[in-house]
């Protein structure tokens, strides 16, 4: 029994290749169903996100190898002109398990420790389970991967700290102010960047968010979406600067929209109470001289990237702990796989003894009463259980390497004169 994984991801292929090979949910369902129903695979699952499309397959035929699966996917996506087998990676057996554990725990992600991938792997498993292509092996593999991800999240700090500019802005604000719900936030610019920053602020309990934008309707739409319903006309927002503790600017402009004199005046009006100004615009929206004012924390994108770099550094420092967790789970998963290999021998062994027991009891069926036969059956069951206990325990016991399993299996089969194992069970 083998498990293969092939796929393209951000490490093996550029974005134009990844987007060409990606599968939608509908395609995902159709693809895995085709693989299994055509008899090529006994189990199949596809993890498809913007950064990866990866197949996890338990082949049902010896011809179904990595190259076969790559060609199968390329053909399914009709992408022979752009996607080549060299864009794929290959993993086998424990390598497949390790890879899925690394993917689920987000150490294989483009942004180390990002929080979305686990949900995406869960979605992939859900799809496979819904269409019935997730069997015993993939189910166990996925559940172990979820367990790895959970342990990584609780035991390490891999997912801590902001790794996006808009979230870093919120993290910085929380290092200055203890309770964002008590602070007044001004968002200048209702574009994508501003919207993201406002949403992060809102998620951290900032409720007093006022939006201003050159096109007032956009400000109103965003305010409504956030549920604050508070906007200021762009022409007059500067008159209210002193009221705000956090000012976020994200507008597209070639000139500074706020200068030192304006902010100096605002600071005097608010009795020098600290202000954070987060300039998320490119080119910058706020005159850098503003940052020199007393109790003024002016941060642009570069400054926020310092926070991101530090957080990523801290996340990288957690990698040894994550790998330790993966190794632990991999050992457990490997042992479970090994028990699958000895399972047919255990079944054969039990069948053989039951057969002997039934033959012997049959000889006495008409010589003893029903009650006596029942007692004899009970007694033989107990004897069989005790005789078989040790050989079964020995078969199930963990082994150093998978290579030791055949010698153990052969030993038991020879001693008890068992027939050749049924291939379908292996």
């Amino acid at each position: 029994m083998n498990i293969i994984s092939v796929g393209v991801n951000h490490k093996t292929a550029p974005i134009e290749i990844r987007e060409r090979i990606a599968l939608s949910e509908v395609q995902n369902k159709e693809f895995v169903t085709d693989l299994v129903s055509s008899g090529l695979a006994s189990e199949a699952m596809v993890v498809s996100t913007c950064n990866r499309t990866e197949l996890y397959v338990v082949p049902a035929m010896s011809e179904v190898n990595c190259d076969y699966l790559k060609e199968y996917l390329i053909a399914y996506k009709d992408a022979r002109n752009t996607v080549r087998p060299e864009h794929f990676f290959n993993r086998f057996y424990c390598g497949t398990a390790r890879h899925l554990f690394e993917v689920s725990s987000a150490i294989d992600s483009l942004v180390l420790g990002e929080g979305q991938i686990l949900g995406q792997v869960k979605d992939a498993y859900r799809i496979a389970a819904e269409v019935g292509t997730a069997g015993i092996l993939l189910t166990r593999l996925c559940h172990t991967a979820f367990s790895v991800a959970k342990k990584v999240k609780t035991r390490t700090k891999l997912m801590e700290g902001a790794v996006s500019v808009s979230y870093a802005a919120v993290e910085l604000a929380q290092k200055i102010f203890s309770n964002l719900s008590m602070k007044k936030v001004l968002l200048v610019g209702a574009g994508e960047t501003g919207e993201l920053a406002a949403k992060h602020m809102y998620a951290k309990n900032a409720r007093n968010i006022v939006i201003t934008n050159r096109t007032l309707s956009k400000a109103e739409a965003l305010a409504e979406e956030l549920g604050t319903n508070r906007v200021l006309p762009y022409e007059s927002y500067k008159e209210h600067l002193h009221e705000f503790d956090i000012i976020i600017t994200a507008v597209s402009t070639k000139e500074y929209i706020l200068n030192e004199a304006e902010m100096q005046q605002s600071m005097m009006r608010r009795r020098l109470k600290p202000v954070i100004m987060l300039d998320l615009g490119l080119p910058r929206n706020i005159d850098p001289e503003v940052g020199k004012l007393q109790n003024m924390f002016l941060k642009d994108i570069d400054a926020l990237k310092h926070i991101i770099d530090k957080n990523l550094e801290r996340r990288r420092a957690e990698l040894p702990k994550v790998k330790e967790i993966i190794d632990e789970e991999l050992v457990g998963f490997g042992q479970w796989i090994n028990t699958l290999k000895v399972r047919p021998t255990i079944v054969d062994l039990q069948s053989k003894f039951i057969e002997i027991k039934e033959k012997e009891l049959e000889r006495y069926r008409h010589k003893v009463s029903e009650e006596e036969l029942r007692r004899m059956e009970h007694l033989t069951d107990r004897i069989l259980k005790k005789i078989l206990h040790h050989p079964i325990k020995m078969l199930k016991a963990p082994v150093d390497t998978a290579d030791n399993i055949p010698s153990k299996v052969n030993l038991v089969r020879n001693i008890f004169d068992l027939e050749e194992p049924n291939q379908s069970l292996q």
Partner: protein, 281 residues
Amino acid sequence: MANIFLENSLLFTLTQLVPLLYIATSALYGLHFFRELPLAGKLKQPALILTIVSHIADIGLLTSIEGYRLSYSAYNLMSMVALTLTITYMFIELTTKSDKTGFFVIAFAAGSALLSSILSAKTIDAGPAFSGLGIGVHLIAAIFGFSSIAIAGLYSGLYLILFRQIRLNRFGLLFQRLPNLEVLELLIMHAVAFGFFFLSITIGAGIVEQQASQESIRLLDPKLISIVVIWLLYGISLFVKPLVGWDIKHMAVLLIATFVLVTALLFIMSLFTPSFHGVSI
């Protein structure tokens, strides 16, 4: 006269053990703050409680010699400063659920306890002992007052460090682990309020006691002058800031300076002029 610590083996052992416990506790807080060792995180609070209990037992045993009266010696003052600082910190940790500043406060307390232990080796006797409710309140309030000054100074230092780190885009360990600026400001203002309260009691109890005993005290005693100056400064900090918005950064600098000056003054005066405001006891 014989050294009282050498005559009592239990007192001697406890007196040597207390600074070691302070050092161990501050090491645990340090390991948890800088290295985030889970074991240190688990052990630090029990260690803090054990240190406080041992220290109280040590002071109880020491003062029992003088009928449980506080004595005025450099050893005792430094020891009491360590204890009150630690108790005040424990109160902060339990009420705010924040243990991020523990290392800085307890390390200072450990320094005081260690100094006290060193001074105890030179102590000939327990120093002049005081009796009476007024002088007891005066002394205890003064010690708690100094602890508040120390905490205000230490938190002011942390505030300025974090402020500077944010201004200079240095988002390192201290940025990650210290409480935010607003919390530090709140802690400073609480320490100032406590300081003002205890110094008011110190001054009030001192006046009452002086009038009751008819003892003449030296009005130009540096301790007396400094306590009044600090009391005024703390009062102004408390009442002026909300009215005119005194910048916390400037206030923090002044509080650090106050803390450093008072610590130096207390130590020097205790070593070289072991008299009580010029009164011979």
